[in-house]
């Protein structure tokens, strides 16, 4: 479903095109899903859960917030690079899939925001206002959205140093942010 939506766009995808991709019979589809919208919503949940599991797995061995952030972002971006259609289905096409899908998107964004908000400001720095983490999540989401939507060569991982710069800036200050910009990325 996500592959089909990412490739064809939510509006254009039909149950037929999903069946063609999966080789399932129509009856099998309707045993599991009410309709296209229901199938997309379930696929969206599963897709987001998969990305979040990858991110969590990548952050598990890391000791500091900044290392977890770097590893987590890298894992998420790497997933979208490997599966750009799924990425488009989750990030771009969710806007075409109705209010329930948008509510799910908001919830996922909320979890991303709290991921950034876990940061502890470096000693001597005042904690930034709560809006900082929202701004970072929204900014990153937006750049990823426009890259995925443009359907060019994606390579989101190449944006990791930039994203780290923006994410680190309010919590750890300009010095650390600059260091992230020059960092070679995740080994």
């Amino acid at each position: 479903m996500l592959e089909a939506v990412g490739a064809e766009g939510y509006e254009r995808v039909s149950v037929r095109s999903v069946l063609d991709r999966t080789g399932l019979y129509r009856q099998a589809f309707y045993d599991h899903f009410d309709d296209k919208a229901d199938c997309y919503l379930q696929a969206y949940d599963a897709g987001v859960a998969r990305v979040e599991a990858l991110v969590l797995q990548a952050t598990a061995g890391q000791s500091s917030w900044v290392a977890r952030l770097r590893a987590g972002l890298d894992a998420g971006l790497g997933f979208f690079d490997a599966k750009p259609n799924t990425g488009r289905a989750l990030v771009v096409e969710v806007h075409a899939a109705g209010p329930e899908a948008l509510a799910k998107r908001s919830a996922a964004m909320g979890r991303l925001v709290s991921f950034f908000a876990q940061a502890q400001p470096l000693g001597g720095l005042d904690p930034p206002p709560p809006i900082a983490s929202e701004g970072i999540a929204a900014g990153i989401q937006s750049v990823v959205h426009s890259r995925l939507a443009s359907r060019g060569s994606v390579d989101l991982r190449s944006l990791l140093p930039e994203f780290m710069y923006f994410a680190v800036l309010p919590y750890l200050g300009a010095e650390q942010a600059r260091a992230e910009l020059r960092a070679p990325g995740v080994a």
Binding site: G9, E11, V92, H95, A96, L102, S106, L125, D126, P128, P129, I131, A132, E134, G135, I136, A138, G139, I140, Q141, S142, V143, H145, S146, A149, S150, L159, P161, E162, Y165, F166, L169, P170, Y171, G173, A174, A177, R178, L181
Partner: protein, 225 residues
């Protein structure tokens, strides 16, 4: 072209002194205006061309001569909205020439949220509805966001570390602000967008000047404004 050609559906014939092109343009404008108003209330999917024709008092033939589809008409109407938004924001930005860049950003953002909150239905159409219309609409949407980068360019020279800023800084800042506006508008709080102004100011300035300076500016400009 025969200027006496009949012009069905426009109601009273236009003044004979006006060239036919004038009537055509005004039919087009009426259609664009009607498209905006109907979609703003009903949503794009639920809007039929017939309702737009009724609201515009234009007949189907005239519509078909001007637009190949409902989508084409909608997209042109969308561009017209963005033109108005950009002009409005631009006027605020230009009226503060010579002031520090954060003040100019604040003035531009204030103009933006004031217009959007005054026209909450149109804001919903231009920010939420547009992302659901399809690929062409999304291209317009991204192009529209791109038109706001102009207001941020000065941030590079204002920032103490302008040369080191990542290439996508404007995209990040605009994206962050847009996304916050999007959430409010989608949640039906479009009329209360003004409350978001300090947060928006912070989100746009922070990538350029850092958190502490952005917070200072946010408080200062919010007090001054």
């Amino acid at each position: 072209m025969d200027s006496s050609a009949s012009n069905p559906g426009v109601g009273p014939a236009p003044s004979p002194r006006l060239p036919r092109a004038y009537a055509v343009r005004s039919e087009r404008e009426r259609l664009l205006d009607a498209m905006i108003r109907v979609v703003a209330v009903k949503g794009y999917e639920a809007t039929g061309v017939t309702e737009v024709l009724e609201a515009a008092a234009v007949d189907r033939d005239a519509f078909d001569r001007m637009f190949p589809s409902k989508e084409a008409c909608f997209l042109e109407a969308y561009d017209a909205i963005i033109d108005v938004l950009v002009a409005h924001v631009s006027a605020a930005f230009e009226s503060t020439v010579g002031q520090p860049w954060p003040d100019r950003v604040y003035a531009a953002l204030r103009a933006l949220v004031e217009l959007l909150s005054r026209e909450a239905e149109i804001a919903h159409m231009a920010m939420v509805e547009i992302t659901a219309v399809g690929e062409d609409a999304r291209i317009r949407y991204r192009a529209a966001l791109g038109r706001f980068t102009y207001f941020l360019e000065e941030g590079r020279s204002f920032s103490p570390r302008g040369e080191e800023l990542p290439a996508d800084t404007a995209g990040f800042a605009i994206g962050g602000a847009t996304s916050m506006i999007f959430d409010e508008v989608r949640a039906g709080r479009g009329e209360e967008l003004r409350r978001l102004l300090p947060d928006l100011t912070y989100a746009v300035l922070m990538p350029y000047i850092g958190a502490e300076a952005a917070e200072r500016e946010m408080r200062r400009v919010a007090r001054g404004g």
